[in-house]
């Protein structure tokens, strides 16, 4: 078993890990190791071959692989040490010390003793178990992301007569992709009365190919033994309960599930880092630093992002903060807790901690679609910031940057709440 001393270990080589490692390198951190379990860097972007990435960050439309390649090329120009085909099994922390246990075929087990860690393990898809559809357990039921990988990387089409459950962007994109490859996509079902996908994807992925979007519908039963033969679908009421009498049988050979993503936080849990029940990711301060000083989190492991551009931004922030931590080994000071109020599902960061950096980037989501919302920040009974935003949807993350002037007061109260009021 090898032991090595380094300054920073970044776990996960997707867009978050790549950008965090680059930002730390730019801040002159010396020994950075970037660990990725796959055979190459780039993460989930390699299978996202459609375009639309990078509009915010690069001001041009790139495909997923092209977006990833830019960062992979930049990393290659630095002295960041890259370990692909390497899996992190555990992280541990005690006082200022942190250890990362990683394994691969050539080096066996390596223990990295490190000053700081950036968690960038991404997310995984919810499966059928996570949503509990009754019926048998035949072959032919896949998550949309799995099929995206089969088609776009491995080059095979897993089915011909397809129904997609869930209208998130991955489901919409796969509806088009499978149609182009010659499958018949019978429809996309969405249990909510609105789609979770971008309008652009509804137009270009469904309408272009006359694929029906059935809102307020779900799958209530799966049929077939060895391979799926069909499903029973039904309309649901306002409480998302299937309405008796609306059931209808649909023959299919494939069912795709696009029912949400969950941050991949097994390692985080093992290290006893505090987690947020709503986001499924770590609780962090404005530097994306977790409850363990010197361990940071960014990208989909922290919160499921809909735009990779924001992943990169968040990772830059975490990488720079890790560099400052390595420099000073500072401790976390007084904190202000941030709580989501009316119409707000969650807020990242969940706390602001001294030393305070200014301004602060907030990311959050609404609970319900709203055409105009007023975002308000409250400290005790005093409103300290407000701004209006249009066309708020749960599927689209809201990002705002705020500069505060009254830290003293905020620290005294110790709490900040974010609420959104619908404006008509």
């Amino acid at each position: 078993m090898q032991k090595r001393k380094v300054d920073l270990v970044v776990i996960g080589g997707g867009p978050a890990g790549l950008a965090a490692a680059l930002a730390a390198d730019e801040e002159k951190v010396q020994n950075i190791v970037l660990i990725e379990r796959d055979i190459e860097l780039g993460g989930i972007l390699h299978q996202c071959i459609h375009n639309g990435f990078g509009l915010h960050y690069f001001g041009e439309e790139l495909t997923g692989p092209e977006y990833a390649q830019r960062f992979i090329d930049w990393v290659a120009e630095t002295k960041i040490e890259i370990k692909t085909n390497t899996m992190v099994l555990e992280i541990a922390a005690k006082g200022q010390e942190k250890w990362v246990y990683a394994v691969n075929r050539t080096d066996g087990m390596v223990i990295y003793q490190t000053k700081a860690v950036v968690l960038a393990m991404g997310c995984r898809e919810r499966t059928r178990e996570a949503i509990r559809i009754p019926g048998s357990r035949p072959a032919g039921i896949f998550t949309a992301g799995t099929v995206q990988r089969y088609i776009n990387i491995e080059g095979y089409l897993p089915g011909k007569k397809v129904l997609i459950l869930g209208s998130g962007d991955i489901g919409l994109i796969m509806a088009r992709r499978m149609t182009l490859e010659g499958s018949q996509v019978l429809g996309v079902l969405e249990i909510m009365p609105y789609s979770n996908g971008l309008t652009r994807n509804i137009v270009q992925c469904l309408e272009d190919y006359q694929i029906p979007l059935l809102l307020s519908h779900t799958v209530v039963q799966i049929h077939g033994f060895e391979r799926i033969e069909g499903v029973t679908i039904a309309r649901v009421d306002a409480n998302l309960v299937p309405i008796p009498g609306t059931e209808r049988y649909q023959a299919v050979d494939t069912l795709l599930l696009s029912v949400g993503l969950i941050p991949e936080n097994e390692l985080t849990r093992m290290a006893e880092i505090g987690l947020d029940k709503v986001t499924g990711g770590a609780l962090v301060n404005q530097n994306r630093e977790t409850s363990i000083p010197g361990i940071f989190a960014c990208g989909n492991v922290l919160q499921v992002h809909d735009l990779v551009d924001y992943v990169t931004e968040e990772a830059n922030l975490a990488g720079r903060a890790a560099a400052r931590y390595i420099d000073s080994q500072r401790v976390q000071g007084e904190q202000i807790e941030i709580s989501p109020g009316n119409n707000v599902r969650y807020v990242i960061p969940q706390k602001i901690q001294e030393p305070i950096t200014d301004p602060i980037d907030f990311y959050f989501r609404v609970t319900e679609p709203m055409s105009v919302g007023e975002i308000q920040f409250w400290v005790g009974k005093e409103e300290i910031y407000r701004t209006k935003k249009k066309f708020l949807k749960p599927a689209e993350m809201i990002r705002i940057t705020v500069s505060f002037t009254n830290w003293e007061k905020m620290i005294q109260v110790g709490k900040l709440s974010v609420v959104i009021k619908e404006v008509s």
């Binding site: 390699h46 071959i49 375009n51 692989p65 390649q69 776009n152 309008t199 249009k390 689209e396």
Partner: protein, 121 residues
Amino acid sequence: MQREVICIQCPRGCLLNVEFDEVKILAVHGNRCRRGIGYAEEEIYHPTRTLTTTVRVRGGVYAVIPVKTIKPIPKERIGQAMQEISSLIVSAPIESGQVIIKDLVGLGIAVIATRRLTEAN
């Protein structure tokens, strides 16, 4: 003639009700700004899309490589374009940006690889 078109020029996503004849737009309803009119005209007479798909690869670490058209192509040519692209087999190694098809279905638009793919060993 009449058709409904969703404008995707901005996140509002207005539902446009468009009246048109063979050559020109007669009226657009439902647009919340002027850009909606230009969009309706494009969508009705010359709808275009950037096509992204994959091409089979011989001898690569993966069986297919992702590609895209360097410019949007007319929407009605997508089916034909897919036929040409899926009948092709290319050999690894391939560089990102490498031209895979020079002139896709006679449109004068190239198809390029969007990633690097090394040879399998």
